[in-house]
């Protein structure tokens, strides 16, 4: 267990201090870092480290309902996975919450394991999201290293064209294309064509397959 630098944080927003404390106690007992907030604004104004995290949110908050807060977060591009807890949940409310991306919807008093499982799922989802974001950022940095000619060649290559075809497409010799290709593979850090294709997908580079072929 790593306790010095928290690898992940569980945020709890509930106006009931007793529940906040109980949840903190429970969640910390499985080795997770917990941070407590008594209200939505308190959470919004806090500075949160960029680590894997999730939010345990009471649906009945003073001043604002949990569902409205969920929407506010989305609008503020705070993409933290949410686990709702409620005193008197109902189906329409849970459906709304789930549709809006909530990980789980728990009715008080909830089973401890349900909460902990939900937290695990939420953290994993956040972790994956963050990893994707990091990879994409790396790839984007690499993409920025490409020359304009290499940028031009990339979509043609990932759409499966042969060097000869690429050459015809861009009006260059096959040998030149070969050079561009090896250079961009190297810069992107791709060991194989399939890897380059996956990178392109992550970067949302459109394949040139929709372009008319001669």
């Amino acid at each position: 267990m790593v306790t010095t630098e928290p690898a992940s944080i569980v945020f709890v927003v509930d106006d009931d201090p007793s529940i906040r404390r109980a949840i903190k106690r429970l969640v910390e007992s499985v080795g997770l870092h917990v941070e407590l907030f008594g209200s939505a604004p308190e959470f919004m104004s806090s500075s949160r480290p960029e680590v894997t995290s999730c939010l345990v949110l009471d649906i009945r908050l003073p001043g604002i309902s949990g569902l409205d807060f969920q929407r506010e977060l989305a609008e503020a591009h705070v993409h933290v996975p949410i686990i709702f807890i409620t005193g008197h949940g109902d189906i329409p409310m849970s459906v709304r919450a789930m549709k809006a991306g909530a990980v789980e919807f728990l009715t008080k008093p909830f089973r401890d394991q349900d909460l902990l499982d939900a937290i695990q799922v939420a953290l994993k989802r956040d972790s994956t999201t963050r990893q994707h974001q990091a990879e994409t950022a790396t790839l984007r940095e690499r993409l920025d290293l490409l020359t304009p000619r290499e940028r031009e060649v990339l979509p043609l290559v990932v759409s499966g064209l042969l060097n000869k075809q690429v050459a015809a497409e861009i009006g260059a010799t096959e040998a030149t294309v070969k050079v561009h290709r090896s250079q961009l593979m190297k810069k992107m850090g791709a060991d194989s064509l399939p890897e380059l294709v996956r990178m392109a997908e992550k970067l949302s580079i459109p394949s040139s397959s929709d372009k008319p072929r001669q």
Binding site: D16, S18, I19, R21, A22, I23, R25, L26, S29, R60, I85, G87, H88, K108, P109, F110, R111, D112, L115
Partner: protein
């Protein structure tokens, strides 16, 4: 004979006694002497010669031809010239008549004719003759007499005058008579003068003529008198007639004035139905002239919608000779139509034949408009309007009745309004007859069958019209469709009840939510802390401090939950302080009134057995009402969900040792004994939509009043009862 010298036909005879004679005069004279002849014949021929006549003188004895000539020569100037011209011939008579030895009288007649013709041919006015008969032999008298008769008959055709001379001496009476018979008249010498002797025939003729003239005159006079009389009477008659006509004219003028000025339209016409007279009133109304209106001209002012009916009815009256009476619209000159009552009667002769039609048009526009307006009002009133005879049988039903029921007017009359229109279950004839017989205004409800078969509830209201003796003469009334109102009332009631239920449910739901949230918070904390404690105990190194903290929180949250429950219960019991002295019976009455519709809608009959002289209780009327409503609603719901045919709710109040006892028993399925102890627990319910608070709250209320609410085992349905202490002033718990 009267002298008429201007007549050219008359010839001067020259003989004073004779004067002038016309051509064709044949007369004679008797003479005695030569002088007699000369005295007569000389002037006779003188006049003839001077008048331009051819003269022929046959002389007889005793006069000679010479003597005749000399006498003429003396008497007639220029006689020689007449002689030379042969204007006068003087000859012996015998020579003229006798041919040989025989008397040739035929020749004599021919000679007269020839002589006359020759005289005319020679330019003479005619022939003047004097004939002598002195030579005549006795034997020849008869022949001569015949000859004279023939001359007398023929001479009138000739331009000739003849004077025959007969010697008086020697003539027998018979001869004189013959002469007189064969001549027109005679001249005779009497007393030294000449007289004209008329023949008896002439006299007779003259006297006859005179007589006739006299007669004629008399008759003329008489006739004239008659005519004058007639004229007078005629004049009188004319005068009278003129008077009468004047009177008639005046009368007619007056009549015409009357006819034209009375505010009535009057018309008449021949039996064929055409009109030939319209009075001024009508003409000016129509804006037509008499000529334009005549015949069929008047028909142009008929309203197009009435035209066919009017003309058909008129044609029928004309054909049958029956009275014409129609209400019809006539166009006024300005184009506006007004209603008229047009009536026509035939005038018949003694044999019953129609001579003329007379008619009037009466302006009934105002009446019609009023009538139409009234009928329109009556027919369009949103109620059925009727009138009925004193016994209740209908004699009038408005259009709305016919439209609603789909019955014809006849089907609704009499008692048809009930038998044919009412719902079979509402046809309580005796009841209705009794209501009418009572003679007082009344209101009754009944279901009426609509034309499409649907039944609507109606409020029938009847008011009697009384005669002078105060007896009911007529019933007037309305039947108003109150179905919509009733339904609206029911819907409103239902809506109110639903709203009340929803409100109650919502209130309960909110209460439940509050309870859930308030209680769940500490519960969630307790469970979470408990779970943590268990996990921590299972861990390798349990930390007693951590455990203590968690368990302390569990204890605190437990207390907190309890406090929440107390708080809610306390809030429920709020407002219990409005206590007054109450009549429980009155509260029961109030509540049954409140729930009357709920009961009737669910077809629950309510029976009340309320004790008289119930002691007053001390309490909160609203809360006690709430308890009663709760119990009653439970009972109604229990009976509604059961299949029991009879739905009866009995509310009983009584005085008992504890104070006042109120019982409520329904005819529903009852409460199962094993549930009986649980039904007062909070949140216990047997109802799908219930939250199980009603009886719990009710019990709390009764207990807060120092009473007891309980369920009593019963043979039928559920029996709830509660007691309330009397004079119990300390109901707080």
């Amino acid at each position: 004979m009267a002298t008429q010298p201007v007549d050219p036909q008359l010839r001067k005879t020259g003989i004073g006694a004779v004067g002038d004679v016309p051509w064709g005069t044949h007369f004679f004279m008797f003479y005695e002497t030569k002088e007699d002849l000369l005295d007569t014949l000389v002037p006779y021929f003188k006049a003839g010669l001077e008048a331009g006549e051819l003269c022929l003188w046959m002389v007889s004895e005793p006069l000679t031809e010479e003597e005749a000539r000399n006498a003429l020569r003396k008497a007639v100037p220029k006689f020689e010239r007449y002689l030379a011209e042969r204007s006068i011939e003087i000859l012996g008579g015998r020579r003229f008549y006798v041919s040989g030895d025989n008397l040739d009288l035929q020749r004599a007649i021919r000679t007269w004719a020839e002589k006359t013709d020759s005289a005319l041919t020679r330019g003479y006015a005619g022939l003047r003759v004097s004939a002598s008969t002195a030579w005549l032999a006795r034997k020849d008298w008869h022949a001569f007499s015949d000859y004279e008769s023939e001359v007398n008959n023929s001479i009138s055709n000739w331009r000739m005058t003849a004077l025959c001379t007969y010697p008086l001496l020697g003539s027998s009476a018979a001869e004189i008579l013959d002469v007189a018979r064969t001549h027109q008249f005679a001249i005779a010498r009497r007393n030294k003068g000449w007289e004209m002797v008329e023949t008896s025939e002439l006299k007779q003729a003259k006297s006859e003529i005179k007589r006739l003239n006299d007669e004629l005159e008399r008759r003329v006079v008489e006739r004239t008198q008659q005519l004058e009389a007639a004229n007078r009477s005629l004049r009188n008659e004319i005068a009278e007639r003129e008077l009468a006509e004047k009177a008639v004219r005046e009368s007619e003028d007056r009549l015409r004035l009357v006819i034209d000025t009375i505010p009535h339209q009057i018309w008449s016409g021949p039996p064929d139905g055409s009109l030939d007279f319209c009075n001024a009133q009508w003409l000016s109304y129509m804006g037509l002239t008499q000529e334009e209106a005549q015949g069929e001209g008047w028909q142009r002012m008929l309203h197009p919608d009435d035209r066919e009916q009017v003309l058909t009815a008129w044609a029928e009256s004309v054909a049958r000779g029956t009275l014409y009476e129609q209400e019809e619209r006539h166009r006024r000159a300005d184009g506006q139509y007004r209603w008229f009552l047009s009536r026509g009667v035939p005038l018949r002769d003694s044999e019953g034949r129609i001579v003329r039609w007379y008619g009037t048009n009466t302006d009934i526009e105002d009446r019609k408009v009023a009538e139409d307006r009234l009928r329109l009002v009556i027919d369009t009133l949103p109620v059925l309007v009727w009138s009925k005879s004193p016994d209740g049988s209908a004699d009038f039903l408005n259009q709305r009745f016919r439209e609603y029921t789909g019955l014809s007017g006849e089907e609704g009359l009499g008692w048809g309004w009930m038998m044919n229109a009412f719902h079979p279950e509402d046809r309580a004839e005796e009841e209705w007859r009794a209501a009418f017989a009572a003679g007082q205004p009344f209101e009754k409800e009944a279901r009426l069958r609509r034309a499409d078969g649907e039944y609507h509830r109606f409020m029938v209201r009847a008011v009697p019209l009384r005669d002078d003796q105060g007896k009911v003469a007529k019933w007037y009334g309305t039947s108003a469709d109150i179905e919509d109102r009733r339904r609206a009332e029911e819907a409103l009631q239902e809506a109110q009840e639903t709203l009340a239920r929803v409100t109650r449910t919502q209130a309960m739901g909110e209460l439940a939510a509050t309870i859930a949230h308030e209680v769940n918070q500490p519960l969630a904390a307790i469970v979470t802390n408990g779970n943590f404690s268990l996990r921590h105990l299972d861990s390798a190194t349990p930390n007693p401090d951590k455990l203590r903290t968690a368990i302390t929180e569990i204890v605190n949250d437990g207390a907190r939950a309890s406090a929440v429950i107390s708080r809610i219960r306390g809030s429920l019991m709020k407002g219990v302080a409005k206590r007054t002295e109450l009549d429980m019976n009155q509260i029961i009455q109030d509540v049954t009134i409140l729930l009357r519709n709920e009961l009737s809608r669910n077809r629950v009959s309510l029976r009340k057995e309320l004790a008289a002289e119930l002691p007053r209780v001390h309490g909160d009327s609203v809360q006690l009402q709430q308890v009663l409503i709760n119990l009653m609603m439970n009972a109604v719901e229990a009976m509604r969900t059961s299949k029991a045919r009879i739905r009866e709710l009995l509310i009983r109040s009584a005085k008992n040792s504890d104070g006042v006892l109120v019982q409520m028993q329904d005819s529903g399925p009852g409460i199962e004994p094993e549930l009986a102890s649980r039904i007062f627990e909070p949140f216990f319910t047997t109802k799908a939509e219930g939250i199980g608070m009603g009886l719990a709250i009710s019990r709390s209320i009764i207990e807060s009043h120092g009473g007891k609410l309980s369920i009593i085992p019963s043979a039928q349905g559920a029996l709830f009862q509660f007691t309330l202490p009397v004079n119990h002033h300390n109901g707080h718990d």
